[in-house]
Every structure is written in C-alpha cells, then in structure tokens.
Amino acid sequence: MPKLPLVRPGPDGSVTHTHASPIGVNATRERDDDIEAVPLRHPWRWVIAAVLLVVFVGVAVSLWQNENVNHPTISEFIFDRRILDGVVLTLILTIVSMVISTVFAVLLAVMRLSHNPVLNSLSWLYIWAFRGTPLLIQIVFWGYLGLLYSQITLGIPYTDFSLFSIDTNTLIPAFTAGLLALTLNQAAYSAEIVRAGMLSVDEGQYEAAYSVGMSPTFTLFKVVLPQAMRVIIPPMGNETISMLKNTSLLSVIAVLEVYTVATQISSQNLRQVELLVVVSCWYLFLTSVLSIPQFYLERHYGRGNARVLPPTPLARIRRVLRPASRPGPAPIAPGAKTNGPHTNGPHTNGPHTNREDAP
C-alpha cells in the first residue's frame, strides 16, 4: 500500500514530507502552509430557503388581502383599554400561580423523596389526583365551589363551635378560584420536574454535605436545590409558557383575562377572527418576553458547571461584529478553554490556565 502514508521515515530513519503535508504535524503551528481551501458550498440551502420564502410571502399576502378580515378592527383593539387590562391580568395570573406553585412543588418533591411513608404517600396521592383530572374540570370545580359548600366555617368538627363562617362565593371570587385552580394543578406537574432535578444531583453531594455536619434541610437548600436548578429551569420555562396560555381556560368562570375580554368584545361586534388575532399577538409577545428571564436564570445556575458560561446576547452581538477572517473552525474566544486542535492560537492562554497542578 504505497499511497497510504503521507509522512514516512526515509531510509536513514528521518521523516520525509512526501507532499506539502496538508494534514502534517505542523498544520496548526505554521501560518505559511495553512490550508487555503475553497469553503464547501451548500446550494440546496439557498434553494430551500427561496422556496420557503415564496410560500410564506404567499400565505401572508393571502391573509392580508382576505376580505373577511377587517384590518382596522385589529389595530383598533390591539391597544384597547379592556384588552390591555386583560393582558395585565393574564400576566399576573401566570406569574403568581407559577411562583406559588413552584414553592409548593418543591415541598411535594421533597415529600415524595422522603423516607417518611406518610409524607411520601400524601405527595403521591396529590400528584395522582391533580395530574389525573383535566385542568378545565378543576377550574370549574373551584369556580363553582359555592354549589358544593355554600358556607365555609372554621371551627371544631362535629361540634357547634365555630370561629367564623363565610359565604363561599365571598371568600373565593372568580379570580381567586382561577388562581387556586391553576396553582394547585401546576404544582403537581412542577413537583415531578423538581423531583427529576433533585434525582439528577449525585449521591456523593449528599454524602459530602453530611460529612461536614450539614443537616438534611441545610443540604437541600444549600447543596441539592442549587444544583438541581440547572436541570429544573428549562422544563419550568416550558411550563411557564404553557401556563400563560392555560390562563385562557379561566374564561369558563369569567375571569377577565385577555381571552375572556376578547370573546366579550367579539360577542358584541361579531369580529371573532380579528379579536383572536389580537389575542394571539399578545400571547406571542408575552411568551417572547418570558423567555428572557429563563436565559439569565440558566446562566446563573450554570456557573461552576460549565467552564465557560454561554455568552449574553450583548456578547454575542459583539462577536458577530468582529467576524472571523480565515476559513476553518471559528477562532476561540478569549478566555475560552478548549482542548480542540487549535490550541496554539494567540487566544488560548486565557485567564484560567490553571489546569495543571503547580509544581
């Protein structure tokens, strides 16, 4: 097989470069024999992009020119006072129910993982019940609790003694019922996410924490949960977006969030499609906004786990403005530590070069 070796020892044992050594040992060290290759072309990407562009433009134009859609109605209602109030209420419902349900979920997850059989079964029962029934039914249940119990009384059971008694519909108005339904349902789902996050933390972390005298509770809050957060946050971002849209289900108990308001308006002016477009625009906007805190939370809890944190959008923009000058792999960012093939560049000796033990 005479063609295989690019580099082989000469008769006297010295190494002879048979060609210009395209993949030779010096490829990364010397600049003058760097690869001057024509970058690989990707013609199909352009073809597919062009086809898709034509399709999208066609759909957009046909929607825009559809005579059944009244565009002035959309612009009239998108910043309507009632719609804006609905948007605010939707946002409040989403944030409040997510925050409370997350706290509740941590409690449920800890109970589920506890060795205490009572707490463990209780948590299992809760998750079973609230995940096993439709959210819509739970909303109706809390909204019409007054039909089941017209009075709510605090006192000693099976006696006539009572501290106070209150009308159910006064104690739980529609907003509270909606919040309760969303929170309790979400807690069951979030509990499983938190539990998965806690299970992802290595057993050795518990042992290390216990070995320095930390109590189980201290270990949970200082050692386990901060590490679990890295696993918990991406699916919780998902749940938040899901929650934002689930608030529209509260229309069945007449909570005045943005979807309910839109249906009320359209039942008067009969512009159903236009108002649904208005509502969809707002949902899209809110989901986009909600993904911003997720990015920064992930970055925060990723510290110490990745050697280099992902760049912030600002840093990314700066990098795009300083493009790579040469073909081939992207230059390594300053401070990045990679053991890839291009470690001889000027950038690799970043601030953290303490990988080797000091002598």
């Binding site: 290595d202 050795g204 972390q205 042992e207 290390a208 924490a209 216990y210 070995s211 320095v212 005298g213 930390m214 109590s215 189980p216 201290f218 200082k222 050692v223 901060p226 590490q227 809890y301 510290r303 110490g304 786990n305 990745a306 050697r307 953290h352 303490n354 990988r355 080797e356 033990d357 000091a358």
Partner: protein, 273 residues
C-alpha cells in the same frame, strides 16, 4: 505523636500497644450487611489520638464500608463504634441504646472529617465557598472569620491563589486538596480518607500525599483507605490488612508490609508492589 513510636522490634501484636488512655476511635466487632451479604464480619480496631492508620486490602474487602460506618454514612448492624468516647449514631441512656435523631448525627459528623475518592466538591461553589459553607452554615461562624480561616487552609494545601475558582476549573489533584481543606475547616478530631488518590492522574498523586503527610506530621488522627503502599510505609503508625470483611493482619508498617505473616496479605502485597 510521642506516645507511639513505630519501632522495628515492637512486639507483633494485633492491637496498638501505645497509649494507656482511651483510644480516639474505638470499633468493636462491627458488622454490616448489604442485602443479606455480610461485608463487615466483626471488625475491631483502635486508633489513638495523633495516630495514622492505613487500611489496605483488595477491593470488596469492606474497608471503604468500614470507613463510611465511622461517620454513620452507613448504619452498622452490630457492634459498636465510638469516637472520643462518644457512641456514633446511637445514644446510651438508662442501659438502653437509642437511635440518634438526624440533628445529633449531623453534629457528630461535624467532628469527623471525610475525604472522598471522587472529591465530591460542591460544583456550584468556588473553592473558598466550598470550605466556608459548613463553618458558616453549621457552626454559625461569622463570615469574615470563616473566610480568613478558609484562605489560611487553602494556603496550607498550596492553593492560596485559586480561592475564586470553581471545581470544574481545577485539576483532580487541586480538587482533592480543596476537599481536604473543606474537611479541615470543621476542625475535626478525626479525618477519614476513602482512597483519596485513586481517581487522580499519577503525576498529581504526589501533591495530595504531601498534604496528607503534612497533616500526619502535625499530629492529625487519620484513618486512610489507600492503595499507596509507599504512603502507608512512610506515614502510617499502624497498617491494617482487610480481606472479605475481616481484619487479617495488623501492626506497624515495617512488620505488615515487609514481613507479612498471613498468606493473603503476602499475596496482596505481591500483587500491588
């Protein structure tokens, strides 16, 4: 360190001969089973204050399990372990033995440091935070005091300038030295090492062993599970050879390592040296 001198002509005996006072670690007939398999079959050992004991033996011989029993990471099925005269994991009251609650166990563990094979540093904390977390959170030390002490300990293990680094940015040897500093931060009476150099690249082993030798010279009481025969020979006051959950042989390193009496010890030492 003066109450026990590993002399070549010391009488061959299964127990340390040195101190008249009560040993710091006293294990009596410790038994432990995992799912019906008995991994510790009655281990009796004593370590006096300031002494270093090395546990040797093939894997699966129960030496790591025994070490984990000492700070109650494993619950023993029989026998007794006491540290500094205090029963571990149990309290004796009115002639009966009661299981300790978790706060009591945590307090006991605070006095017994442990260094793990896989380091087990907290990855979300810097080197310094790893060291100060327990003194601040468990002992209630003021933060400036804990930080000053933490820096002092990092300096002692030769890592003074890496206080702000996260574990992922450190080499294995550096991580293990931070782990030793973390254990020292609680001022333990007894320090346990579970194969502290087994997960390290060969060239990084020396730094960790140097730190351990320094601790031994300073009079720290240590129980070390290791395969580093050289370390055992140089730093240990007593070497214990375990196999299949039983202590086969024990004594000063010169005797056990150079003139083993038990054929199992002989075979093991031949295979590792």
């Amino acid at each position: 360190m003066t109450d026990f001198a590993p002399a070549e002509d010391a009488a061959a005996s299964a127990t340390p001969t040195a101190s008249a006072k009560a040993p710091l670690l006293n294990a009596r007939k410790v038994r432990k089973s995992f799912g019906g398999v008995e991994v510790l079959k009655g281990i009796s050992l004593e370590v006096a204050t300031g002494q270093v004991m090395c546990l040797l033996g093939p894997s699966g011989s129960g030496k790591s399990t025994f070490l984990r029993c000492i700070n109650h990471l494993e619950r023993i099925d029989g026998g007794r372990i006491s540290v500094d005269g205090e029963l571990i994991g149990y309290a004796a009251r009115h002639g009966r033995i009661f299981e300790m609650n978790r706060r009591e166990v945590a307090r006991q563990r605070g006095g017994i440091g442990m260094v793990f094979q896989r380091f087990n540093l907290f990855p979300h904390m810097t080197a310094l935070e790893n060291i100060t977390a327990a003194p601040i959170g468990v002992r209630g030390l003021a933060k400036p005091t804990a930080v000053a002490r933490g820096r002092e300990l990092l300096d002692r293990v030769g890592l003074a300038d890496l206080a702000g680094s996260y574990p992922a940015q450190l080499s294995g040897g550096q991580q293990q030295r931070v782990a030793i500093a973390r254990a020292l931060a609680m001022d333990p009476k007894l320090l346990l090492f579970d194969e502290p150099t087994s997960a390290l690249d060969p060239e990084l082993v020396g730094d960790v062993l140097d730190v351990m030798r320094g601790l031994a010279a300073d009079g720290m009481t240590m129980v070390v599970v290791t395969h580093e025969i050289g370390f055992a020979r140089g730093a240990a006051d007593e070497v214990v050879f375990m196999d299949a959950g039983v202590v086969m042989e024990s004594g000063p390193p010169a005797e056990v390592l150079d003139n083993p009496q038990n054929p199992r010890t002989k075979a093991f030492l031949d295979s590792v040296m």
